[in-house]
Symmetry: C2
């Protein structure tokens, strides 16, 4: 017997500069979800750097009766994904406070915290609803908007995880104000990635506003990240493959080397920087494969540099970097499928990538 | 922005008495799925008791080039769900043998092994496809057919788990031949449960064939388990709530006390026996609540006894048993929703259950 069935989800993406204000986004989402209890989890990086936000969060917690405990502060950054510690902490809290499948976890922080907390939420009682509040440019424009979560295991990025659409994602652009420059700009490499594949107007906007973005113009950043988030969301919900069962992963353009470089440097290279380097490599590979005009590659690499991103790293000469191709293939499985660029908005899948091509590309960047 | 999207699944249920034969079910499923690699995992209870089956499995593995290693033997029974050991073992094998999302894990065993291996498969690389081969009457007629997996944590059954439809479920009735009597009959309490709620003809068939079932008539058992599996499958795929986001869980009739009794006895009481006891309690509660005719309750309890099931246990007088109601509520969350019976095929949801009613029902069984 073959019995087909389907599950419906709604991906809610909200923007607000004061989401905890009365009748603002959080109040509205809670009216819709009607959670029995609410557990709030906050990235320690945010908790330590943005007192105004923490104050407004505490005020909301005080007047929201479903909130069952003080916000739980967890370690931020990639290290939170390198062990089961954060996941265990969340599972213990779910048990202690009797958080159920009709309750809700609100996770506030960078992409790593959203990934680890999201994974814990997805396996507790087979799935407690989660509202994500990304606090970095990277997570607001890309990872926080997705349907994936995960932690690292066996030294491999996201070896363990699930696909689990959040109940909602809430982007508060003002959270970016307290970020150091490296994290302020981090989301721009992913925005450039999605612009290259899907939206040349966004690419032009980033180019035009590069100085404003460097000068931490919040309006300029808001416009870029909003478009980046919507492009990612549309790809997930309209791209025909939300849970990645097919071959192609266009949103992972430039990511095979980015993931490997992060691992080789023990995550000292941030994801935003690694993606800038990974994009540079794959753009030059695209040129060398004869599919891409050199002008687009050099314009993109210049733009990345102008925005303060590195486009090379000494570890690129580590022969182990090339293992990233096989690890990228293994994660999704099946035959190798890498995205290269033919032209702006014209991605093309390739199924092999010669090591000599990669070495030439890297040599050009070094 | 609200972006709705859906995921389609096909639930494949296959029956075969020689699934590893050439061109039989396993060959056909592999032709459909085209897995890059196959990892086979076997319950130690089955590996130790059914050499003929293990031989045919080994023969299939030898002639199937995708099989990447000798079948991995894991501990069977509920203990396999009481720690992370089995899950860790599978994750390590996934890493060692480079099992990817285009590969496949074939899990063969009782419900506990399918639950633990299924959970590991669902979180490795965010989900490696799994083919389940339930080897017990309980798992062939009920748990193996479902879309859930899980392990126990904090002393709570299935505290950790996911919803993850298997690629296919393969039921080989001949596997039941090597089971001890307790496991031979175990699936019948779940079959009686689903018959009470959905199919009075099946209830009559079990009643008529009680002696044959007691005498281990494989044809009689095959007919009952096939109907039970199909009723469970139809409920999941056509019941409108495959991932249990709503209030009602009709397939968990009688399960609040069953789960608690298993835990109170450190899983010495098997799930099949616990469900028989749990059904007896909730049938008598249904009578006491004035919703059910006494005749149906007493006929069912007699039938359970006739089939060799216990319908009482000394631990029923443990006051902690009643905590099972709150734990049942917590797992799904929201308000308490228990299923009681008004009549054959006429379930009714209730939202409170007075302890005195439960105590009276138990007193009648003791």
């Amino acid at each position: 017997m073959d019995a087909p069935f389907s599950i419906q989800w709604t991906h809610r993406l909200r923007f607000s500069v004061n989401p905890f204000a009365k009748h603002d986004v959080l109040d509205t989402l809670c009216k819709e979800l009607l959670p029995i209890k609410i557990l709030v989890v906050v990235d320690d990086g945010l908790a330590e750097s943005n007192q105004a936000f923490i104050d407004s969060l505490h005020a909301w917690c005080s007047r929201t009766e479903q909130v069952c405990a003080s916000p739980l502060v967890v370690a931020g950054g990639e290290k939170t994904k390198n062990s089961f510690d954060t996941v265990d902490l969340i599972l213990e809290a779910v048990n202690t406070y009797s958080i159920c499948r009709k309750s809700c976890i609100i996770a506030i922080g960078g992409g790593a915290v959203l990934d680890a907390v999201g994974f814990a939420a997805s396996i507790a009682h087979r799935g407690v609803p989660i509202i994500r509040m990304p606090s970095t440019s990277l997570s607001q424009g890309d990872s926080g908007v997705g349907v994936k979560n995960g932690i690292n295991h066996f030294g491999k990025k996201n070896f363990i995880g699930t696909f689990n659409p959040p109940f909602a994602v809430v982007n508060d652009i003002t959270l970016l104000k307290s970020l150091p420059d490296e994290h302020w700009r981090a989301g721009l490499s992913e925005a450039i990635k999605v612009a290259l594949i899907k939206d040349s107007d966004l690419f032009d906007e980033i180019t035009t506003n590069a100085d404003a973005l460097n000068n931490r113009d919040i309006k300029a950043m808001e416009s870029v990240l909003k478009q980046s988030a919507l492009l990612h969301l549309q790809h997930i919900t309209n791209g025909g493959d939300p849970f990645e069962t097919l071959e192609s992963r266009p949103l992972d353009f430039g990511h095979w080397s980015a993931h490997k470089l992060e691992q080789l440097t023990d995550y000292e290279v941030s994801h935003g920087d690694a993606v800038a380097i990974g994009l540079s490599i794959d753009l030059l590979c695209s040129v060398k494969l004869g599919t891409l005009n050199e002008d687009i590659a050099s314009r993109t690499i210049s733009l990345l540099k102008q925005l303060g991103f590195p486009t090379m790293h000494t570890e690129l000469s580590n022969p182990e970097l090339l293992l990233g191709i096989e690890e990228f293939r293994q994660h999704l499985g099946g035959r190798l499928t890498l995205l290269m660029l033919k032209d702006m908005q014209e991605p093309v899948d390739i199924h092999e990538l010669d090591a000599s091509i990669v070495r030439q590309a890297i040599a050009e960047l070094m």
